[in-house]
């Protein structure tokens, strides 16, 4: 089940997908759908199964089990009808270094059966991504950013309906990354559907219309970021700071205060109504509590991701399973919260503080895709 609005049609549907490489299970009972005309982000740490999923979608890889439908077709048995409508940019740009940029684009155009206006399309695609001046140079001399741009240009030459980008900003500087993400956003304004794999929360945050959080080869949760954050944080949250943070504890049990989490960085107050904030502040001041900051807090994808990871860990530990602590920089080094923090570079100082209402909503009240089943816990660990 999908948490997106019902007007969107799923262009890709995966159900119960499993795939192993030898003894390693890359995908385990993966369910996923990709709404048409949106950007779907597959978010998860390295080894979560994102790349394998993208490969299964085009039929480049045949899943061991489960059902794959891309444009309503089986990409393995009807790959010749599916792949011409897909454009892929893999984690490595997969370009021919000994050929020029133009030759690379020409090769793709011919393989994908671009017959009309081939030269114009090549020029336009190269111009769009700012590599037209280097089109006749050998790709071996391109910078990483230029290669990514060329790969992006190649992916749209044949005007595909579905674009799959696997870590498209990998190895790029912040400026280039920003430009690439901007290009990707533009793709959907032209009616294309985009699936992007990333382990960078900041990328997913700004880009995703629909998100699938993956780990251990399975989907932990999926839906639009707005719907998901609303589901996990149903009430407005305000951050309060005082010169004496302990005094804020008095608020517990006040009328309208649904939940509270207090730590040195600030007290996160969950209210039943955001309009209560002025009264709340007035009451605190009247009570002699010096307030230094009042700031509404909008839960981010980063908050959501780590909440889910934390809750999974808690449940697994409750079941006596040994799990990686999502906030432990040693045991969890593969998901970067922002640019410039690649695998292995995280430290406790950089970890986001998770301040969320206690507890997940009751499982029985949540739809299927947000359920954190016991089996999920067992399998993901």
């Amino acid at each position: 089940m999908d948490t997106n609005p019902p007007h969107t049609n799923a262009i890709v549907e995966l159900s119960g997908i499993g795939h192993s490489f030898g003894a390693t299970e890359a995908l385990k009972n993966l369910d996923m759908s990709v709404p048409e005309g949106r950007i779907t982000v597959l978010l998860g740490p390295n080894g979560a199964g994102k790349t394998t999923t993208a490969r299964v979608v085009t039929g480049a890889l045949t899943a061991d089990s489960g059902r794959v439908r891309t444009f309503g077709r089986d990409p393995v048995t009807e790959g010749h009808l599916v792949r011409p409508h897909c454009g892929v940019v893999s984690a490595k740009p997969a370009l021919y270094d000994r050929l020029s940029g133009r030759d690379n684009l020409d090769y793709s155009a011919e393989l994908y059966g671009v017959k009309t206006d081939k030269e114009r399309r090549i020029r336009d695609a190269a111009g769009r991504f700012g590599i037209d001046a280097a089109l006749d140079d050998l790709v071996g001399g391109y910078s990483t950013g230029m290669k990514t741009r060329l790969a992006l240009a190649r992916s749209i030459l044949h005007d595909p309906r579905l674009l799959l980008f696997d870590e498209p900003t990998s190895g790029l500087d912040p400026e280039s990354s920003s430009a690439v993400l901007s290009y990707i956003r533009d793709m959907t304004t032209e009616g294309r559907t985009v699936v992007m794999c990333t382990h960078l929360l900041s990328e997913a945050e700004g880009l995703a219309d629909h998100i699938v959080i993956m780990e251990g080869g399975t989907d932990l949760i999926s839906g639009s970021p707005e719907v998901l954050t609303k589901r996990f944080w149903p009430h407005p949250v305000v951050t309060l700071n005082s010169s004496d943070q302990r005094l804020l504890e008095r608020m517990r049990g006040w009328n309208g205060v649904v939940g509270m989490r207090n730590d040195p960085s600030g007290a996160r107050i969950e209210l039943d109504d955001i309009d209560r904030v002025p009264d709340l502040v007035a009451a605190l001041v009247a009570d002699g509590i010096p307030i230094t900051r009042v700031e509404p807090h909008t839960p981010t994808l980063e908050d959501l991701y780590f909440l889910i990871r934390r809750k999974l860990g808690e449940r697994a530990r409750a079941d006596g399973l040994e799990v990686a602590d999502p906030l432990d920089p040693v045991s969890n080094t593969t998901l970067a919260p922002s640019h410039g923090m690649g695998p292995g570079s995280r430290s406790a100082d950089h970890m986001p503080v998770i301040e969320v209402p206690d507890g997940l909503p009751p499982m029985t009240e949540r739809p299927h895709e947000t359920d954190l089943h016991e089996t999920d816990l067992r399998e993901t660990r």
Binding site: T58, H80, R98, L99, D103, L164
Partner: protein, 282 residues
């Protein structure tokens, strides 16, 4: 789920696009192109020219007579074909027509094997296999494209070398045997009927290796082991058909080689899978 990609229709244009792109890369690669041209020149032009010039132009009747005596080991049918009135001329004719035949086998097999060994595993090593695996090209089109891209450099070098060799032989030996005589009918049969199937047979095996091994170096090592005996067989068959009676031996050898090559090629298609292009096959 089905693990087998259906055959579907075969797009010859797409196959040629795959082959053409590989060839384009070869042509832009001097580290490959120069040895290829050098090999052809050495085997087809430099060595034969030096030997034949020595026999026909250097005044060493003793040496020519000795080599001429050794022609007695050739089959009678072959000896009967030898033209020339002097020992030097007869020896040069025998060398040009019979003894340089292996060159025509060694050159294309060596060049094409080197290209073929790297062709699929090379895509994987460079990461471009991912692009092909996601592309609409069927595995049959990719396989055949790779095959053509491997055959063409070796065979083209051989044809060009053969042309130069023919010219040189006629210019150097022709005056001693009564005019231009080369290529003989047996050489035409060998070049157009025997060499191609042996080349295809070798490449069908080499491409299978290239699809399976983990590195280009491993593919080249292993393909050397496979093609060495094949070169031996091709050598003996080519030489035998030249030394045999008329053209019939060559036609038969070629027909058998074609049959084996086509079966091997057909079976070789299965070795190329999208999983292997991605480098994730188990």
């Amino acid at each position: 789920m089905s693990a087998i990609e259906p055959n579907g229709s075969f797009d010859w244009h797409r196959m040629w696009v795959v082959a053409r792109t590989d060839l384009r890369q070869l042509l832009k690669s001097k580290d490959y192109l120069l040895p290829m041209v050098g090999l052809g020149l050495v085997f087809f032009v430099v060595v034969p020219t030096a030997l034949l010039l020595t026999l026909t132009r250097v005044d060493s009747s003793t040496m020519a007579a000795r080599v001429s005596d050794s022609l007695a080991i050739l089959p009678e049918a072959a000896q009967a074909q030898i033209l020339g009135s002097t020992p030097g001329g007869r020896t040069a004719y025998a060398l040009a027509v019979f003894l340089f035949a292996p060159v025509a086998v060694v050159v294309p097999l060596t060049i094409s094997t080197a290209v073929g060994a790297a062709t699929i595993v090379g895509e994987r090593e460079r990461g471009t296999g991912e692009f092909l695996a996601h592309s609409p090209a069927s595995v049959r089109e990719i396989y055949m494209g790779k095959l053509f891209a491997s055959v063409i450099p070796g065979y083209a070098t051989t044809i060009v070398g053969f042309g130069l060799y023919s010219l040189m032989v006629n210019l150097v030996v022709g005056p001693d045997v009564g005019g231009w005589f080369f290529p003989t009918s047996q050489w035409w049969v060998m070049m157009l009927w025997i060499i191609p199937p042996f080349l295809l047979l070798a490449l069908s095996l080499v491409l299978r290796l290239s699809a399976r091994v983990k590195s280009t170096a491993a593919a080249q090592q292993a393909s050397g082991l496979i093609t060495l005996p094949l070169i031996g067989i091709a050598y003996s068959q080519a030489t035998g058909s030249l030394l045999g009676n008329g053209d019939s031996a060559g036609w038969i050898v070629g027909a058998v080689a074609w049959a084996i090559a086509l079966v091997s090629l057909h079976r070789g298609v299965r070795s190329v899978t999208r999983n292997r292009l991605l480098g994730v096959a188990q």
